[in-house]
């Protein structure tokens, strides 16, 4: 019965559905327009952008990839792409490895210390960054953590709240019997963890990896405060803020090109693992 009505609906789209389809298509254009806008202008000569920003480039205004070349070479954008990738990949790797171990320990061991730590990690999720911003930056400076590797270590500390929370939730659902068998076989806790538990955690590992990668990649205030503007370790958001946000003589063309270049890696990442990203983000929202 239900199946029959389903196929009927699929065969014949009603008038209402067709209207909805047209409206949705218009909405898609509206949603993509800001990105189309910077894309169009990134191919125009820098003096033509403010004259007619909504026109497509024509033979007079078309500038080829000049803006991209300027954007990439002049402003240290190329090195920013490298450092963004470096910091994101190392931070996420550290977070996945160490917080999952921590979460496993504090979930499996029943002690006051373990549950105290669990609440502390959960608590850290509701504290806004501005609360610890100044004192954390000073501390990081004193301990010479104002390097890319130091940043990764700080991200491990900041990312720990959400990551431990999500891993703990999953560890609770793993039946103890599986691990007891491996202990009987003579595994020590570390062997047991890496051979038995960690592979089971895979779905949560993917979710945590996506959430943390997006956060670290897009984060602005932490790298800006810890590493600062003057060093060579700037990340993409810091460079964009520095160059696009500064007043004075702006190269509009290079600016548009840099915005496009900043968006491209995210779009590629999204299209490549769309299913995991949507699931991961939603899971993170519902739990956090």
């Amino acid at each position: 019965m239900a199946k029959g009505s389903n196929t009927q609906i699929k065969e014949k789209q009603t008038v209402g559905q067709n209207i909805a389809f047209v409206i949705l298509c218009l909405l898609v254009v509206a949603f993509l327009y800001p990105i189309i806008f910077i894309l169009i202008n990134s191919f125009k000569g820098k003096f033509y952008i403010s004259k007619n920003p909504f026109a497509l480039p024509n033979s007079e205004t078309f500038a080829g990839v000049t803006n991209y070349v300027t954007g990439l070479t002049k402003n240290g954008f190329l090195s920013a792409i490298f450092w963004s990738f470096f910091i994101t990949i190392i931070s996420v790797a550290l977070i996945l490895l160490f917080t999952s171990m921590t979460a496993y320990y504090i979930t499996r061991v029943k002690s006051k210390l373990a549950s105290g730590l669990y609440y502390l990690f959960t608590f850290s999720m509701v504290v806004p960054f501005q609360m610890v911003m100044f004192t954390m930056t000073s501390l990081a400076d004193k301990l010479h953590l104002n390097t890319p590797i130091g940043m990764c270590f700080l991200y491990l500390g900041f990312g720990a709240g959400l990551a431990v929370f999500m891993f703990s939730g999953f560890v609770k659902s793993i039946p103890l019997e599986i691990e007891e068998a491996s202990f009987m076989d003579g595994c020590n806790p570390l062997q047991n963890y890496f051979q038995v538990v960690f592979p089971i955690l895979k779905p949560t590992t993917i979710t945590v990896a996506i959430l943390q990668a997006m956060w670290v990649w897009n984060d602005y205030l932490l790298p800006y405060l810890v590493i600062g503007l003057s060093t060579k370790y700037k990340t993409i958001p810091v460079v964009v803020q520095l160059l696009v946000g500064s007043n004075g003589n702006k190269d509009m063309g290079a600016m548009m090109a840099m915005l496009v270049l900043a968006i491209i890696p995210i779009v590629i990442f999204y299209l490549a693992c769309q299913k995991y990203i949507i699931e991961g983000v939603v899971a993170g929202a519902v739990k956090g």
């Binding site: 500390g157 946000g245 999204y270």
Partner: protein, 281 residues
Amino acid sequence: MQKTLKRYFLVFTLPTLVAFALAFIIPFIMGVYMSFCEFTTVDNAKFVGVSNYVKAFVGSNSFVSALGFTVKFVIVAILSINILAFALALVLTKKIRGTNIFRTIFFMPNLIGGIVLGYTWQQMLNAILLKYQTTLVSNSTYGYWGLVLLMNWQMIGYMMIIYIAGLQNVPTDLIEAAKIDGATSWQTLINVTIPMVMPSITICTFLTLSNSFKLYDQNLALTAGAPMHRTEMMALNIVNTFYGKTGFQGVGQAKAVIFFIIVAAIGAIQLVFTRNKEVDQ
């Protein structure tokens, strides 16, 4: 097993705990203490009692106008984002061609970082406003609605996905039963669908609430508070207090503590709401 594992405490937790202590616990405790101090660096803190908290509310660059602007922004953002996202979710669960492509596109802006997003919108909105010989920062109303638009653009797709998941869990026989009883589609929506997706509505409301309330990157990129700090939200106001004028670091820290208390209170209320819902079911 417990006993053997217990001896491995440091092996399993040390790296995380050291990083967590340095990045969060120690700065947090220092932050609470220093909100009662006058200082320019962490080494010259001088205890001054609650005067920073008083200065947070009175005098120049006070919190009050930023708080007002934030509340005004948050209310409009919550309503517009949730109504539009829910409407989109309703349409996209109605078996229309290309549903998956639509979902993919609407969700995408959520992944782009606030700074890049803010400047993209700034460029576009300024190009539009230029036709009327004005800019985004010439009037705080433009900045306000620009921020609302931007936030809608970023969050609608995200909330839509959560609403779609909620709508797909509504049993079809309930909807069919309502139809047989002669309910119009509007009546079905109000009396059957919406009560059934109440948990999703709660989640989305709190998500938009806390995300809009803590907004920083987008605010900085779009207007940076211009003109005259009138489009400055709480987070931006705090950062500007810290790094704008020397000698105001203590006031900035006191504002940050107040900000934290408000955010934590929102979290606590959310917890109560979701717990109550769980009991109902």
